[in-house]
């Protein structure tokens, strides 16, 4: 299976321009014979929406996504978007395949501490579900979702094969840590303990001084990063993965086999 990550920058609140960019990179991934392209969180709208959330949110059936749906006949596409539903707003992801929307995940854990104000504008999703694609069993998480251990417990329980994490993660550092180390630790650990691939797709660009660092990567089920994108640069990267690695990892460490999962968690 060939996977692309579209590590893009966005124009804040300009859905038309951003969706055009998603189409552009999707075309490039199709040209490279990729099976799946993964874009970041809020890829159609930009991150720091604040009051723009009211005008920048769309329903999944909005015609603005028609071209992307059409392109999903040639490649599976997943991207973050600001979702509108019954007067409420969600920080969501949409998975398109064979011309259809096969999954919508609404971000469940909305950060509202430090610089974050998501819970002020968005409503939280209620579940973390896996779904079958033509390639594998997939779970999609959005940024903060992945900092909750219950999310990884959900992927453990439902035996996810590819965990996709869409992100708009801002850069920070101090004398002994860089932000991406947190992401690498989380994703490697999740991959190792659950025996699945992790695709981490993080955006780039600046919004009012906040820099999204990029460095998107893919971790194999043994917990190794097999490809990583650049720091701060918009780019498309492509990598071939072997889905049999999931089975190989689970043969080596069949952790899930020996646990009866707690249905009340995750």
């Amino acid at each position: 299976m060939k996977i692309s990550v579209g590590q893009i920058d966005t124009v804040l609140g300009d859905i038309g321009k951003n969706v055009k960019k998603l189409e552009h990179y999707t075309d490039k991934a199709i040209e490279e014979n990729c099976d799946l392209i993964v874009f970041p969180e809020l890829a159609d709208s930009g991150y720091g929406l604040r009051d723009l959330v009211y005008t920048s949110s769309r329903t999944p059936n909005d015609p603005i996504f028609s071209n992307l749906k059409e392109k999903s006949n040639y490649i599976d596409i997943v991207f973050g978007f600001a979702q509108k539903e019954s007067g409420y707003f969600y920080n969501s992801s949409m998975y398109l395949s064979e011309g259809e929307t096969i999954n919508i995940h609404k971000k469940r854990f909305l950060p509202d501490y430090g610089m974050f104000e998501e819970q002020r504008y968005f409503s939280p999703g209620e579940t973390i579900d896996s779904f079958k694609t033509k390639f594998a069993k997939v779970t999609t998480l959005i940024c903060e979702d992945a900092f909750h251990i219950s999310s990884h417990y959900a992927t453990f329980k439902n035996e996810t094969e590819i965990l996709i994490i869409l992100s708009a993660s801002p850069f920070w550092s101090d004398h002994n840590s860089m932000k991406w180390e947190l992401w690498e630790n989380v994703c490697k650990t999740s991959a190792q303990l659950n025996g699945h691939f992790v695709i981490f797709s993080n955006r780039v660009g600046f919004e009012d001084g906040v820099g999204f660092f990029g460095k998107s990567f893919i971790v194999n089920p043994k917990g190794h990063i097999i490809k990583e994108a650049s720091f701060l640069k918009e780019e498309l990267f492509t990598v071939e993965i072997d889905l049999r690695d999931i089975e190989r990892a689970r043969l080596f460490m069949p952790i899930r086999k020996n646990e009866v999962c707690d249905e009340s968690i995750g």
């Binding site: 804040l12 604040r50 009051d51 101090d174 004398h175 860089m178 600046f206 001084g209 820099g211 660092f213």
Partner: protein, 276 residues
Amino acid sequence: MNLLDKLRIDCEFVSTYLIEFTRQEIAKTGITKAVFGLSGGIDSSVVTYIAKEALGKENVYGILMPYKLSSKESIEDALKVVKDTGINYKVFEITDPADAYINKFDDMDKVRKGNILARMRMITLFDHSQFYKALVVGTSNKTELLLGYGTWYGDMASCLNPIGDLYKNQIYQLANYFKVPETIINKKPSADLWVGQSDEDELGFSYDEADIILYHLYDLHYTIEEVINLGFKKELVEGIAQRVKRNQFKRLPPIIAKISKRTINIDFRYLRDWGL
């Protein structure tokens, strides 16, 4: 562990980040150039190296704005940075316009005069912003922003500031990384608003002390008691905390009386990069 070690930054990543910040935040406005005051001090020198990398030397304008009491070394040091980076520069003496105002008063204390000089420089920079079609890049560091050691709508005024989240100690780390001329790194920091002025003498404490105290109080959420226990005098820690609190107004736009249901910056909330 030396307390200052906690302020250590990875200069390679931080400089790349600040160069990209400067390049992208300027480019998205449709402007390609930057202008800023070049004092010969450490802060504007570091900004020069960042701006040159971000925009190319031909798109960067450093304005030297001496007053009659400014030290000659300041000009010499600023010119060393110009020579080393190859940016455009201009010397614009502010003595005449500043004195035209100052001389309207029989007696003026040095704080008022200092503010007038800082604001005269602000006028010059924002005029050249329009003249060159360049954005004004700020050169205030985190230490002086937190202490409020600057003139509101004077040297604190800018369109964007790459170094406002870096303490003075971290500015020195970047200066060494960029190989800023040594005379600039080695001299005592001064606003150079009057003869013999020294930042540290005027503040009553060293930048290293201020950086450690501020970093623990605000970045690490230490209490005042806990910072005193690191080995600082009670009066010093309390005095610094008091300065930060008293100067909060300088770090924000003016407050607006709320009347409607949507008041600017209260519940009319958009980033500045709206649509950019």
